[in-house]
């Protein structure tokens, strides 16, 4: 049998790979010259002309296409290629069977050698003339090949294709209707893209309507990709391409705008969304001259989307479109811009007349969009609106009305702020004309309007801050006044809670510090200093003033001024023996400034000079000087300030500082008592100081010494809880960061911190705590896996005999500690939480199953404690095994063990409830089998007084998720019971719990819409 017969057999049996192999074999023969092209074509003859069977004819062409595709370059001569091309095209004229294969064959031929213009033209003409319309071919793959071929022609043979159109005026209409009725997204993606060539490069003015209609027929795209669509075409892809077509040339405008605006009245929000985006594209891409013809029509249609908001995003898009029109005209000429803005200004002025209404608010948004679009528009809008706005303002006594007008003004000013950032040097003269009056009115409002007019004063405050931010619209004197007024608000307004204007005033002052730093420095800072005396009577602290002052440090421009003033204030307060509370507050303010403010940075690293300027003097005042009254808090705060400055410095800088400081940091030769007192005093500082150090800076021997010292302190009895907490954190830090993993066990043994020893029977509570601290350091480090595992098991074995206090310690292993962080150069294993989970949780769940009722609470508490700080993603795979013990956790009653404080038991329950909440959100199906016990236990957890308010609220939140997340039929049986029992929660003593109860009950009532509404 000949190759073609074999191919036809395989093709008939739908064996694609088999068929391709045969074609490849033929190609090899051609290449080796054992087969001549002429013989190949002759062998095709009986099949390609088969009178009775179309599919044989089609497959014969497919064979030819596959053979050509398998040929390498240069096997066929140019003449042979032309011959084949003519052969295929000649066939098409008489028989369109195998049109897809023909297109593939031509694509393959073209890949073997470029065509000349006339061939390319002939190919396109043959297809358009003989296979018109394309939709007659039912198979998408066939059409797809044709689409690809024509796409190639339009991409590579642009001039030749354009000639076709230039020479034959009939051609275009045939070409346009050729695609009619195509529905497949894969084909459409290419058609939309290839149509852009004639649209943008050919003279299609006469065909604009047909061409436009041919693509607009697809608007709006409603295509939804099937699930698991292998082609990955989204409806957004199609929308984008279609939009590019619609916006391709200005000639479309007479058809595009009326039809798009017509569709803007659609009731479908998605259609409106598409329309608005298409309009934006048209406005951006069409010529200004064209837009000019439609600008007022567009305004008349688009304004409704803003005046009567249906969906917020639609309003935003409409505003964008309105702004684009204004921007389009900004370089085009006065006339069109005026013509467009005139009706806008007129209508906005009308809406402002009855401010504050929904529509005056909308007018404000429109003005904001237009002013922000371009300097020219900003100028014209301001000139048109501001005189009217101020006439209205002065003509009304109503504060409500004035507030509405100010809000509109603020929109205009805010747009100016944006505009001057984008186009520095923008002329804001129109705004400037009224800025003086505006700022005077607002300052008056801030000073003398009744405090209860919250929104009026807020609007004034915003306005003042914004006007200061537009360069050049206010005189120096007005800026001074504005800064004074806002400073005054910050210093003297006392109202808390609702109507609090201080918080926004502080923000306003910071934002003004960005634009007029010198004025703030000259006027506000001294005013603050007046409120901060060196010494205060009694124990009162001007906390509000200090807080506000520290917040100003968030502005880079005045950071230095703020911290310097704070430091000097602290020094004089200290010299004059001010109260400890005041000194602390000043320290806190400095810490706040360094933590949340904007200190200077060199190459992204905080400036090292701050160490000598701030950290060292503070340390020598509050830490070094042991003779002073011990203040652990001060040592802690100074430690943190040093930490922030020091931790990102280079090894060289750190090491220099460290050796300079070592002298007073290391324990001296004092008597035992002083040494102990000194250690306790310095430890909080040491904790942060060592946290800041890079690992290479500190010598190993020093670490051992330090650990030894801390071990002694950790194991001694009678320390305050703060002191021992600090010591234990330092132990964790040192173990994690400085101890070499290889010698870890030796170091621990040498320093008396071996966990096995610490947890031996009858060990003291201090020893157990130290054991947890060491294990935590190792666990987070993740370098000594075997050792950590052994220690963890020692700790777990404590549970079988111990009371709940030890069990509660388990949560400390995972509790996040800011000191153990990458910023502090600690070793943080990426997987330590998973590791701990995998090692400890199976043991615990197994133990819970076999534990005696007396032992069980300890295990449950430990489990819940460990889970508390685990991300949900880690524990969700094990949810099935965790659910039963967690449900039991909810049954724990604090009365069973009076030694542990109730708060801890509440935390255990809260932790379980939070897990249930996440599980209900993410994996409700896993909880389905426990629905009954879950609902009962959640209901029980809402009862007071055995459950704290936060547990009750959390339980109600979980319970509210049950009807939403679980299957309807699974929860409906509980509806009656839940709705009834929730009545009691509606009368809960705590307001927050009642709020949750209302939400929860609404969720359950919603289960049975339309049925019995009340019980």
């Amino acid at each position: 049998m000949s190759d073609v017969q074999l191919y036809l057999l395989e093709a008939n049996a739908n064996n694609k790979t088999g068929a391709l192999e045969i074609a490849a074999r033929t190609a090899t023969k051609l290449q080796q010259r054992t087969l001549k092209l002429i013989d190949l074509v002759t062998s095709l003859e009986p099949h390609i002309n088969d009178k009775d069977n179309g599919s044989i004819r089609a497959n014969s062409v497919a064979y030819l296409a596959d053979v050509i595709a398998a040929l390498p370059l240069k096997v066929l001569s140019m003449q042979e290629r032309r011959l084949l091309c003519d052969f295929i095209l000649g066939r098409l004229e008489g028989d369109t069977e195998g049109v897809g294969a023909s297109a593939r064959a031509l694509l393959a031929l073209e890949a073997l050698g470029k065509w000349d213009s006339s061939t390319a033209q002939k190919v396109l003409r043959t297809f358009v003339n003989n296979t018109h319309p394309l939709r007659q071919f039912k198979l998408q793959t066939e059409r797809y090949a044709v689409v690809q071929l024509i796409d190639l022609l339009l991409a590579k043979y642009r001039d030749a294709m354009r000639e076709l159109h230039d020479e034959d005026h009939e051609f275009m209409s045939g070409f346009i209707s050729y695609w009619e009725g195509e529905k497949d997204p894969r084909n459409l993606m290419i058609i939309f893209s290839l149509l852009q060539v004639p649209m943008t490069e050919w003279d299609v003015h006469a065909h604009a309507q047909d061409l436009f209609d041919s693509v607009f027929n697809y608007f709006p795209i409603t295509f939804k990709p099937p699930p698991d669509d292998p082609y990955g075409i989204t409806s957004q892809d199609l929308k984008n391409r279609l939009r590019d077509c619609i916006a391709a040339i200005s000639d479309f405008a007479p058809y595009a705008f009326p039809q798009l605006l017509d569709k803007l009245d659609s009731t479908s929000m998605n259609t409106k969304r598409d329309v608005l985006q298409a309009l934006q594209a048209c406005i951006a891409d069409y010529e200004a001259k064209t837009i000019n013809l439609y600008s007022v029509t567009l305004w008349d249609a688009l304004k409704f989307e803003v005046l009567n908001v249906q969906e917020e995003d639609l309003a935003e898009e409409a505003l964008k479109a309105l702004a684009l029109i204004a921007a389009k005209f900004s370089d085009y000429g006065e006339g069109p811009l005026n013509a467009y803005l005139r009706p806008v200004i007129k209508e906005c002025n009308e809406h402002l007349e009855d401010a504050p209404t929904k529509q005056s608010e909308a007018a404000g948004r429109i003005l904001h969009a237009l002013v922000g679009s371009a300097p020219q528009a900003a100028d014209k809008v301001s000139k048109g609106i501001l005189p009217v706005l101020f006439a209205l303002y002065n003509g009304s006594e109503s504060i409500t009305k004035r507030r509405g007008l100010l809000e509109a003004l603020n929109q205009i000013t805010a747009a100016h702020v944006k505009l001057t950032e984008q186009h520095p040097g923008t002329d804001c003269r129109a705004l400037q004309t009224f800025a003086g009056d505006a700022v005077d009115a607002m300052i008056r409002a801030l000073i003398s309007a009744p405090k209860s007019e919250v929104s009026f004063r807020m609007a004034s405050l915003t306005g003042v801050a914004q006007l200061v931010s537009v360069p050049g619209v206010l005189s120096d004197k007005q800026i001074d006044q504005a800064v004074d007024t806002v400073t005054n608000l910050v210093l003297h307004e006392q109202l808390q809670g609702h109507g609090d204007i201080r918080t926004p005033a502080i923000q306003a002052l910071s934002s003004m510090a960005l634009n007029v730093p010198q004025t703030v420095r000259d006027r506000s800072v001294p005013a603050f200093m007046v409120e901060l005396p060196d010494v205060l009577e009694g124990n009162s602290v001007p906390a509000a003033v200090l807080e506000a002052f520290a917040q100003l440090a968030s502005e880079r421009q005045i950071f230095e001024t703020v911290v310097l003033r704070l430091k000097n204030k602290l020094r004089s307060a200290r010299h004059q023996a001010a109260s400890r509370a005041y000194q602390r507050a000043l320290l806190f303010a400095i810490l706040y400034a360094f933590t949340f403010g904007s200190p200077a940075r060199d190459d992204g690293v905080i400036r090292s000079a701050y160490y000598a300027d701030y950290a060292e003097p503070l340390a020598s005042d509050f830490v070094k000087d042991v003779s002073s009254e011990t203040d652990l808090v001060a040592a802690d705060v100074v430690g943190r300030i040093s930490n922030i400055i020091l931790r990102s410095q280079s090894v060289h800088f750190q090491s220099t500082m460290y050796h300079k400081n070592l002298e007073w940091l290391s324990p001296g030769e004092d008597a035992a008592d002083t040494a102990k007192q000194r250690a306790e005093h310095v430890t909080p500082f040491l904790l942060y100081y060592y946290a800041a150090m890079r690992p290479g800076v500190v010598d190993a021997a020093e670490v051992v010494g330090l650990l030894k010292q801390q071990a002694v302190s950790a194991l001694s009895v009678g320390n305050s809880s703060q002191a021992s907490a600090t010591t234990l954190r330092l132990v964790s830090l040192l173990v994690n960061k400085f101890a070499n993993p290889k010698t870890m066990q030796a170091i621990l043994a040498e320093t008396g911190l071996e966990v096995d020893t610490l947890t031996r029977d009858g060990s003291s509570p201090q020893a157990v705590q130290a054991a947890f601290a060491v294990t935590k350091g190792l666990l987070v480090q993740g370098k000594s896996g075997a050792l950590t595992t052994r220690y963890l098991q020692s700790l777990l074995s404590l549970l079988s005999t111990s009371d709940s206090t030890t069990a509660h310690h388990f949560t400390t292993l995972l509790v996040p500690d800011e000191i153990l962080s990458k910023e502090n150069h600690c070793l943080i294993s990426g997987l330590y939480k998973q590791k701990l989970f995998n090692q400890a949780i199976p043991l615990l769940t197994a133990a819970i199953r076999t534990a005696t009722p007396l032992q069980k609470p300890a295990y449950l508490i430990a489990l819940s404690g460990l889970l508390r700080h685990l991300p949900y993603s880690i524990l969700s795979p094990s949810l099935a095994t965790l659910t039963p013990p967690l449900l039991q956790t909810l049954d724990l009653t604090s009365t069973s063990d009076i030694t542990s404080p109730a708060a801890a038991d509440q935390a255990v329950k809260t932790s379980a409830l939070i897990i249930f909440e996440s599980a209900l959100m993410h994996d409700p199906s896993l909880l389905a089998e426990h629905t009954s016990s879950l609902v009962t236990r959640l209901l029980n957890s809402t009862a007071s007084p055995t459950n704290g308010a936060s547990v009750r609220a959390k339980a109600l939140q979980c319970l509210a998720l049950v009807p939403r997340q679980l299957k309807r039929e699974a929860v409906v049986p509980y509806r009656r019971q839940v709705v009834r029992r929730l009545l009691a929660c509606l009368d809960d003593g705590r307001r927050s719990v009642r709020g949750e109860a209302v939400r929860c009950r609404t969720a359950w009532l919603g289960l049975d819409e339309g049925g019995e509404e009340e019980d």
């Binding site: 507030r403 507050a585 705060v637 703060q722 801890a904 935390a907 704290g948």
Partner: protein
């Protein structure tokens, strides 16, 4: 599309002028900015004093918080108007001063009464009944059973006040209204924005 609204362009109250609990109850103790900076002693010393365990409920159940007018206001002010995507509070349809809680009439009774007066945006607002119904349904569902809910139209603000008050006061008619599918849908849509 706009023409069928009774009041196309209602006045809107700025959110910061709406009554809220934060104004009515100036908190005695304020959380200072620096409190978060004060040294916390988490973890190891005693896991028992870890922040979330202790901070959330300072004096928890000792001092009960009574249900007051503000709480009732918060329950109903977030209901949305059937015509505008705006809340009843911001439209001034429900006002704090038009809510009254009357204590039990006798020492033996536990039943308190909540009276809410509703102000329609225009005197001819045809949706007044629906708004009243929404308020009533919300309160009946959200208040404990020891409260009797009385929703009425504020005198002199609606041309149909008498008729509407009769409907809202009649238990049977309210129940019958809630059998009406389309009415239930309208009410549910109004309540959907409630927190």
């Amino acid at each position: 599309m706009e023409a069928d609204k009774d009041n196309v362009n209602p006045t809107i109250i700025n959110p910061s002028d709406l009554p809220s609990r934060r104004r009515s109850a100036p908190t005695a103790k304020r959380a200072g900015l620096f409190d978060a900076l004060a040294p916390a002693y988490p973890s190891l010393a005693d896991g028992l004093s870890s922040p979330e365990a202790s901070s959330s409920e300072p004096s928890s159940d000792e001092e009960p918080e009574e249900i007051d007018e503000q709480e009732v206001y918060d329950l109903i002010s977030t209901i949305s108007d059937p015509e505008h995507p705006l809340s009843l509070g911001s439209l001034g349809v429900v006002k704090l001063e038009d809510i009254a809680i009357l204590p039990p009439t006798s020492a033996r009774s536990r039943i308190s009464t909540v009276t809410v007066l509703v102000t329609p945006t225009t005197s001819a607002c045809s949706l007044t009944t629906v708004i009243g119904l929404g308020v009533k349904v919300r309160l009946v569902n959200a208040l404990p059973p020891r409260f009797r809910v009385d929703v009425r139209i504020k005198p002199g603000t609606s041309s149909t006040a008498g008729e509407v008050n009769k409907q809202l006061g009649d238990k049977e008619r309210v129940a019958a209204a809630m059998e009406n599918k389309s009415l239930v849908n309208v009410v549910n849509n109004m309540l959907a924005t409630c927190e």
